[in-house]
Structure formats: C-alpha cells, structure tokens
Amino acid sequence: MPKKPMSFTLNDAETGVFVEEGQNLLEALRRGAGDLSPKFGCGQGTCGACTVLIDGAPHLSCLTLAEAAASRRVETTGGLAAGPELHPLQTAFMEGFAAQCGFCTGGMLMVAKALLAENPRPTREEVIEAISGNLCRCTGYGPIVDAILTAAARMQGRAA
C-alpha cells in the first residue's frame, strides 16, 4: 500500500512520518515517530489511554486519522517533562500514588493538562468531568482526582 509523507509538530519539534491509508494517529506516533507515550488500549475510543492534545485540545489518537493531524501541533505525555524537570501534574501523580500500572496515566495527564490550561482552578466535579472519558482499572480514580487538584493548586501558587 502506498505511503504518504506527513509533517506535524510533535512536542514542539517538527516531525515527519510516512502514513498508510486509513492509519490512525496513534500508530503514526508510536510506529512512525517513535513516541511510545500514548498507549493503545482499546482502539475504539472507549478507554482514553491514547489521548493526545491537538492544537491544545484533547483528542483520541486511535480514532484520529493520521493525515488529519498534518501541519498541526500534537502534544503527548512524552513532551510534558522539561529534561529532568517533571511537569507539576507528573510530580503530583507520583507523590499521590495516582498511578499503579500506569497504562492510563498518559491519557489522564493530557486531559488534565488541557483542563488546567482552560480552567486553572477547577472544582472536584470539573476534574471528574474532565477525566470522564479515561478509564483506570487500578486506582479507583480518587488519587488521580486528588493529584490533579494538587497540581492545579501548586501551579497557582496555592496550598493544596
């Protein structure tokens, strides 16, 4: 099957990959660009483990046609940390034991990042709504919600 070249911005770096007809963005990121941080969970848009940000808004990369992301700005968990400096969300997840197996964590972090960019002081209900498209089978969600609220508070310079 013929492949087409496609370029986009991945975590602030100009990136080019070859995509097959009908290939989804998740495959293009993992196999084409070598970014393994978005996970393949269901391939059906149900679990949210593949969530990435496109132009700042969360999208399910397994249901996004790769070529629809051409020339757009894609962000994954792989780009959250700045060198050895973790993103405040990552720190809060780590300290609050908000990850066990970690498979859902990338998707959770990306929807949380989008939420805090839009709404820096979310309520608990708003956090629950923000992660409502992301499944976690380990933590029971409580520590994840707490970690997002903690990160929000720290990013605002408030006590958690």
């Binding site: 848009g45 969360p58 629950i128």
Partner: protein, 261 residues
C-alpha cells in the same frame, strides 16, 4: 482515502465510492477493527462544514460542527446539555453533529435532541428534509450532508435526560428529549424524542398528543408517560433488555418532563 477540500469537488467525492468521515469516532473504530469492511474514506475539509450561522428564526449547524463547538456557541445553549452528555472531553472535540445523525443504536444522543427540536437536514445539493424522514431512510442515504437546520430554541424549552448505568458517563440505556412550548406550568404543544428505544431515534407521538394543554405536574403528565411506549420499539442489547427499557421509559419520561432528579 480521498480528501475533498470544497463542495465544488462534490462530483469527485461521489465518484470516489467511500464512506464520508465526520469526526471519525464511529468510522475509525470500524477501520481499526476490520479495515477490509470499509470501502474507502472520504474526508471533507470545507470550512463551511464547521460553521454555525443564524438566519431569521433558524440556526444552521454545519455537519462538521463538533459537540464541543455546540457547547460553546451562544445560539446553541439549549443543546449544550445534550452535547455535554456525549463521551468525555476528547471525544466531544471530535464527534460531529453530522456524524451523530448516522450513529447506530445505542449511540446518537444528540440526534434525539435535534429530533425533539424539529430539525431539518440539508444536503450539499440543496435538498432539505425533515430529520424524522431522514432517519427513516438513513441506512440507504446517499449524498453529502451539509447542515442541520434547527428553529431557535431557548434553553428552558428543551429538556433532556440521558439514562446510563455508569456515572458520570456511560452509553445510553435510553435518552429522552422534549421540546415544550407554553407557559411554565402547562404545555400547549410538545415534541418528544427517545434514543436507544428503536433502530433510530424515534418520536413518541402518542405522548405528545397526551401532553397538550396539561399541567406540568405528576398527575398532568401521567397519561403522556403511560402512552410513550406506543411509538417505541425497544430491543435487547448488552446494556439492557427490551423489557427493562419498557418498564423504566415512562418513569424517565416523567423525570425528564418535570426536571426531577
């Protein structure tokens, strides 16, 4: 894959023999699961598809408008709770109004809201048809759906309830939308639509008739709720049996109409 940039290249798209892709939330599932069953994909990037425009007492919603755009648009405030009931934030950034019209059972909650609001669909070639007629023939529908046209609806006119087994989000056991016109305490006319209670979203016409002129309280809406099943044909699926759906539909209709929790 064929990418069509404008409606001007409509003929090219029609000749391409494929499925027209909206947000991909349904079609890409099929591509991922069984690519050989998808004859081809046609992606339309015409910016007109993502536009919402008001003209007179109607609002034209582009078929490519996403659920998130619906939630954010001031002219569509009545439909914001319906859009919000669909998926999580990531899915709502992708799922489109046009795609929802083709969503098979038990999906298609947004279409339920549009059906209650009396929407029409407008094809790229200018054909216009009532949403109810479109739904009857949607399995064999041919063409490119351009916009959905809906009468301006105030938030207090449209009531919506989605019934699902998990909170905060889950697939519909059923969804119900009702457009009520009249004073606050009684309905002079009503349009009621159910989702996941038949092969497509369906109107509950008997309930609509029974609701005319009645007081909006438990006694007033009782006959309408009892009549709602006359026009519905629920089926068994993994979420609920037809029996269960039939048992709870009148109760959830009452809760929807009266705004009960």
């Amino acid at each position: 894959m064929t990418t069509v940039q404008t409606f001007a290249s409509l003929a090219e798209a029609s000749a391409a023999q494929g499925a027209i892709m909206g947000g991909g939330t349904l079609l890409m599932r099929q591509v991922n699961e069984a690519p050989h069953t998808v004859p081809g994909l046609i992606r339309i990037t015409d910016p007109g598809l993502s536009r919402v425009s008001a003209s007179g007492d109607r609002i034209e919603i582009g078929a490519g408008v996403t659920m998130r755009q619906v939630m954010d648009h001031p002219d569509l405030a009545a439909f914001a709770p319906v859009a919000r009931a669909i998926g999580g934030p990531a899915l709502r950034n992708m799922a489109t109004v046009g795609g929802n019209l083709f969503a098979p059972h038990p999906y298609g909650d947004f279409t339920v809201g549009l059906l209650a609001a009396g929407a029409q669909v407008v094809w790229a070639d200018g054909r216009r048809e009532e949403l109810e007629d479109f739904l009857r023939g949607r399995v064999s529908a041919q063409g490119i759906l351009a916009t959905v046209s809906v009468v301006r609806t105030r938030p207090e006119q449209l009531r919506f309830r989605k019934v699902s087994r998990t909170r905060p989000k889950g697939v519909s056991v059923m969804s119900i939308a009702a457009r009520l016109d009249g004073t606050g305490s009684s309905a002079s006319s009503a349009r009621i639509a159910f989702g996941a209670m038949g092969p497509t979203p369906l109107r509950a016409r008997a309930a609509e008739v029974a609701l005319q002129g009645v007081r909006l309280d438990t006694d007033g809406v009782g006959p309408a709720c009892a009549a709602c099943l006359e026009d519905l044909s629920p089926a068994d699926d993994a979420l609920a049996s037809a029996w269960y759906r039939a048992q709870v539909a009148p109760i959830y209709l009452r809760r929807c109409l009266l705004g009960e929790s």
